[in-house]
Symmetry: C2
Subunit: 495 residues, 2 copies
């Protein structure tokens, strides 16, 4: 038994003390001491402080919690940063630092190595900077090439997490206070709502688009700066603080592509209002019609506000690897990059996923000569088939040669223009064994739009389209009450 | 160009409207409609509602945000649940559901398969239930065996995320409202502070332990129910709402092991106060002294409150795979399991990590006959070496035959008993090229304790101990002001 002569009064004290609503607790101890040294006039109780007061000025780009997240990271990393700059190595750096601080079992790597898939780290598997460094270089090089950036993109501006869902969650949290909001043109990929809300408590302000065409040079569901301005002013008038704008390009579910001119207008709008812009380019390499002239925002010369422009990409769509969990953020804003990266404990990806991804991304020959041409040809063929089927059915739709889906107008098949009827039609499809997504899931304002995914094998598409036809023609087994308008002509040409 | 005759007034409305501080926004649309149908007396503006009011009664175990998280999941999954119960398969289920709803490119799996590591899913890589189901069975079987559960553990009680950091983050969020707290005996693994706070805004109330020994049957840093009670009452008196208790067993950094009797006392305490208990057993298989008689909480017959007992394990420590990102939660509470699992979009692990882990966990022969005996023998040898070195140095320490670290008492090497001196000593170690962790990082109340990790190769340990000795004996190159007490005798026997 280990006994100690020293006697100390024992006080099972609570750490937090009486804290403000955003207050932290005593683990700030060490940091508080340093902070106190820096700001001697600031009153600090033991282990109790108001981090918002301490950190709000850390970065003009981060929310108070973003600053706290970054600060936690920075302050905890002192020893490890020093270590990683001067790691001990028996041969190469015998005078380097021996790490007896990280609780990691280095004794059985030999036994484990034959059981573990290859990883880019030789010793251990800790989510260290080694692997990530290599991967960030590969991502920067990959994005430079495929986004056609005017100058090479920089590895230090790259953050890698386990998918775009996590990137949205992290960005919302480090950019916004609780209850603040992002603008988003609707219809939009509905899961983003949860991504920014569930952890971040950030809301979305919809910029509602509709199918009405108002002029010669316009198209259905067109996003304009006027609509952005109106939505922003509407939010402000309702007391909602808007911190950013989310753009999806190619758009999901519309399949829209923003022209460089449009992109620049939206970015200028954001700059005028000091908004961050998060550009989700997750379908960037799934543009199968060359003629649509897709341009990544990273291809633009002289971004209006590069410190507030954050670009996301992932392998989920372009490489059919949604289960792989791999998403990248590109931002020139180092505060944002650090704050988002420091959440990697919660959104980290396995060392060997990092390794595999680095291998894949650098295989430019295979991607350019085998994968992309074949992938685009197959997407185009599937798209052509489904388009023709829809035309034969007399169903209007929107499609622009990008993405995996067609935005289908089934409004005439609804007895009434309600979301309840939309859901009933959706359920009839499901009962007839074909699953689609209804427009309400994308926050579409007009009931009756559906997203139809065509990126599937021919025999499944054929069967799926047959089953859709059965429902629309009232011939499915389950359709008790076939919609009355089923024989109407389509209301416009297809695109 | 696609034109539509139907004209509709265009209103770029903001979704959120005037919401409560915890209010959600219009993406609740569909859900709100259903909720409204269920509760016709509840006043609802378009797209605006108070989800706390709607969900608070969903589960007595979940916080309002936990209920929201679970509800989002449940409601979004309707179509996919139906689909997964009746998936189309050309041969086995040609009458099954064709999925044209999930935006996934199934056209190039043949091209990608040769480039992708093996995964347990044949087609696609979506984070679906297939892989996870197999893995959960393996985890349940693995934990049943190694935790020596009285009855087989059930796969449906298993949740897998990318590590314990994520599990803490998710549990904090689904169990607590913003600002609520968990009790934790201190010193403790300091990163937990961030895990529960950064996303969850949950605080820790420390149950401070100290080195004083108060009686024959006691030991230093002993956790008692009295101390738990005092800390809880202290927190309550300060207006802090405590929702749970975190136990780490084997403890980090103390290396302590709770006896079955102690465990049961702590669990009974928690039950009396309706507290959830999160038991972190991440060093469960790293108990290298058989004689200490480690028992997992899952080995206990008749847990006092199984619905509030949540057990965590990971491969990071026991299989030296911290970079692999693999953590498991075992809980009989299905609300908690679902809510935590539904955050998998942010904490998901790659499909092929799931595959690899299932392979590893089922290889009971290798684990039992090769890995664990050798791992324990090596840990023991390394521990013996470092213990002897510390004794030779006259340094008291605590160590109980579990974990990778020794809790070292360097108080006598501090000129003054302050955390500033502790940090200065830590920096002298670092400047002499050896990295340790200081006690303040574990929220230890007594300055001068350090955690020394011994699970490293012999030559690095030797060098590390030499460098520690140099600093303590004032012989390092950098020690400008060697502590005056360096020649003192140790204050007690070692353990």
């Amino acid at each position: 038994m280990f006994t100690l002569p020293q006697k100390e009064s024992r006080k099972p004290t609570t750490c937090p003390g009486s804290v403000s609503t955003r207050g932290l607790h005593s683990i700030y101890g060490d940091g508080l001491e340093r902070e106190a040294a820096r700001k001697p006039d600031q009153k600090l109780l033991y282990g109790v402080g108001d981090p918002t007061a301490m950190f709000s000025s850390d970065s003009p780009h981060l929310s108070s919690r973003g600053s706290i997240i970054k600060w936690f990271w920075d302050s905890a990393e002192e020893g490890y940063r020093t270590y990683h700059m001067d790691e001990y190595d028996e041969d190469r750096n015998p005078g380097g630092i021996i790490n007896l601080g990280t609780s990691e079992n280095k004794l059985c790597f030999d036994l484990l190595s034959r059981r573990r898939p290859r990883s880019c780290v030789d010793v251990g598997d800790s989510a260290g900077p080694h692997c990530e460094g290599i991967l960030r270089e590969e991502v920067a090089s990959f994005l430079s090439f495929y986004c056609k950036s005017p100058a090479p993109l920089k590895p230090e501006n790259v953050v890698v997490l386990n998918g775009c869902a996590s990137l949205f969650s992290a960005l919302a949290t480090v950019l916004c206070e609780v209850g603040e909001a992002f603008l988003i043109p609707a219809p939009y990929y509905g899961a983003i709502t949860q991504h920014v809300y569930l952890y971040g408590n950030v809301r979305l302000v919809c910029v509602y688009l509709d199918s009405e065409v108002t002029g010669l040079e316009t198209h259905p569901f067109q996003l304009t700066v006027d609509k952005l301005e109106m939505a922003l002013q509407g939010a402000i008038s309702e007391g909602v603080k808007v911190k950013g704008l989310i753009l999806i390009n190619p758009q999901n579910p519309l399949g829209d592509i923003y022209s460089p001119g449009e992109l620049r207008e939206y970015l200028e709008f954001a700059k005028r209002h000091a908004l961050h812009v998060m550009v989700d380019e997750v379908y960037m390499l799934s543009v199968f019609e060359e003629s649509v002239g897709y341009r990544s925002v990273l291809s633009l010369e002289g971004l209006p506000d590069p410190q507030k422009t954050h670009v996301m990409w992932a392998t989920s769509k372009d490489f059919g690897m949604s289960g792989l969990r791999f998403g990248t953020l590109y931002t020139e804003n180092q505060d944002v990059a650090t704050a988002v990266a420091s959440l990697c404990r919660y959104h980290g990806l396995s060392g060997f996923v990092q390794y595999q991804m680095a291998q894949l991304l650098r295989d430019r020959d295979w991607i350019n000569q085998v994968y992309l041409p074949e992938n685009h040809a197959r997407l185009k063929a599937a798209h052509t088939y489904v388009s023709e089927e829809l035309r034969a059915l007399g169903v209007p739709f929107l499609s622009h040669g990008a993405g995996f889906f067609i935005w289908v107008d089934l409004r005439k098949f609804l007895p009434e223009a309600t979301f309840e009827e939309e859901r009933l039609l959706w359920r009839r499809f499901l009962e007839n064994k074909v699953l689609l997504s209804f427009g309400k899931a994308f926050e579409c304002k007009e009931p009756g739009w559906f997203r139809l995914v065509f990126s599937d094998k021919a025999h499944r598409l054929r069967l799926g389209m047959q089953r859709i036809r059965q429902v629309l023609e009232g011939k499915s087994q389950v359709a008790e009450d076939p919609p009355s308008c089923q024989t109407q002509e389509p209301r416009g040409p297809h695109r």
